[in-house]
Amino acid sequence: MVEPVLQINNLTKSFGALRATDGVSIDLRPGEIHALIGPNGAGKSTLIHQICGTVRPDSGTIRFAGEDIGALNTAQRAQKGLGRTFQVSSLAPEFSALRNVMLAVQAKQGSSFGFFRPVMRDRSLVDPAMAILERVGLADRARLPAAELSHGERRQLEIAMALALQSKAFLLDEPMAGMGPEGSKKLTGFLDALRREAPILLVEHDMDAVFALADRISVLVYGKVIATGTVDEIRSNPTVRTAYLGDHA
């Protein structure tokens, strides 16, 4: 078996008496979309925060690209190739779409301590950023401040930034949230192709998208993974049905 890109082992995190993450073990293999689903308050966000380094787990390990990243901070994990998008878009609002992506390109090049060369005249930043914007379909919005983009466009821009980092894995936190049916469909097609670039850990409430995209699904309830399996296995799993899916499946 190929080694997983991301491997979370027995992760535990408590806030007082609440066990937000309770012995969670999941992994992300090359080329797959692994969806993480669960009802509100199941601990999905807390888990994401721990993977990204904004919350420290009480115990357990997180291995990424063959090494333990537990001691690294958010910026260091991003440098290792962990690309993420947020549940609520997180961008530099005053900067144009282009400059947002350029920031990611510059970070990937590992040099933010240039003081004299204007970035807008730096082809090594502008060109790749523009190419990525074209790829996500935002080229004609490149000069607009991120704050003036529509909700869906901001989502696309976040993905563009993750792409610019040439991430080894994508961590997408509810990318479909707030998208119209048309937008969701387009994004589903985009993510479907994206998995060939790097595997995706997809946290999502939109079941149509999850069932269409996921190679594997893990179900998180009260901080515990109650089941992991293929779409069919999860659909027919009785525990999952009572705990979460209800009559949706």
């Binding site: 920031l103 990937k108 730096d122």
Partner: protein, 324 residues
């Protein structure tokens, strides 16, 4: 291309040059001194604007760096004039370029220490901790008798700049004016650079910066140090303008004044500090002649700016700031 903002900037820069030239021609050196004061305060605020305007770091302690620059000028020249060596037997100097280097290096080192601790906090705590550090420097200066303590230190003869007679008001003004222009040029370069992009992004969204793999702390610390260095350079010039340096340069009033200049002129704007300094000195001069309580009226104006013209003078004249 001459955008509206560039036009406003150009007019401001030319006004600051032409006014003292005219005043000098008409034998009014007082106005030359006034223009020099504007140029120096603008440079000091320009330094703070790098941290505050670009980086969103509301430092309430930049008087510390302004004062360190001032004391660098005062201490070096006093040793040069008395022929007493300083520590390690180093001689003093009356050469401005050497003084500036000492001012910039000394303030940079202090800013590195202050910033390294202060930048672990944010928001109100950052404001308070920078204020606390500046007050420490202030009380240190007061209680250090070797260099005048509370009474301050006079600079008998204004320090020298190669090729200029700095005792002539206009010559000294031109030195200050050129340093200000160089400072503005440096600010513009930094703002447009990779570092500037990271610094401004860290102000807008720290999480975003970390998520692309840039350490906001390192970026901010670097910005804080550069900011302090520019303000210290202004401090050295300010001491030479008054031929006097005292702990009042280090007091929290001074820190507040620098923030006021930036808000009046336009936060984060290239020429905001100059516009703010010009406005401030003009008020001080015009209203100060009418009433001792001119700062009351300045307060009203500041209130008006904060409530109705958030972009300051430049926001009014040149519209909203644009990022490429």
């Amino acid at each position: 291309m001459l955008t509206r903002e560039n036009t406003v900037n150009l007019v401001l820069a030319l006004l600051l040059l032409v006014a003292p030239l005219a005043a000098n021609a008409f034998g009014q050196p007082f106005y030359v001194t006034l223009a020099t004061r504007i140029a120096i305060l603008a440079l000091a605020a320009l330094g703070l604007n790098l941290a505050l305007g670009l980086g969103g770091l509301v430092s309430f302690g930049h008087a510390a760096f302004f004062g360190i620059g001032g004391y660098a000028a005062g201490i070096l020249s006093s040793h040069a004039l008395s022929y007493e060596p300083m520590i390690f037997g180093l001689p003093g100097t009356v050469q401005m370029p050497v003084i500036w280097i000492v001012a910039v290096v000394a303030s940079g080192l202090v800013a590195l220490a202050i910033g390294a601790i202060s930048l672990r906090t944010s928001g109100v705590y950052f404001i308070m901790i920078t204020l606390a550090f500046a007050q420490m420097v202030y009380y240190f200066a007061i209680s250090w008798p070797a260099y005048g303590g509370e009474d301050g230190l006079s600079i008998m003869v204004r320090n020298q700049f190669p090729g200029a007679n700095t005792m002539k008001p206009l010559s000294f003004f031109l030195v200050c004016y050129l340093v200000l222009l160089a400072g503005i040029g440096l600010f513009a370069l930094i703002r447009a650079s990779r570092f500037g992009a990271a610094l401004q992004a860290a102000r807008q969204n720290e999480t975003r910066v970390a998520t692309v793999g840039i350490h906001p702390y390192r970026i901010r610390l670097t910005g804080f140090v550069i900011s302090a260095m520019i303000t210290a350079l202004a401090g050295a010039l300010y001491a030479d303008l008054n031929r006097f340096v005292s702990p009042s340069m280090l007091s929290w009033h001074m820190s507040g004044e620098l923030i006021v200049l930036i808000i009046l002129g336009g936060t984060g704007r290239l020429f905001g500090p100059l516009a703010g300094a010009a406005l401030y000195v003009a008020f001080e001069f015009a209203l100060g002649g009418l009433t001792e309580r001119w700062q009351f009226f300045l307060g009203l104006i500041l209130l008006g700016v904060v409530l109705f013209a958030r972009g300051g003078l430049l926001g009014l004249l040149a519209g909203k700031a644009k990022h490429g």
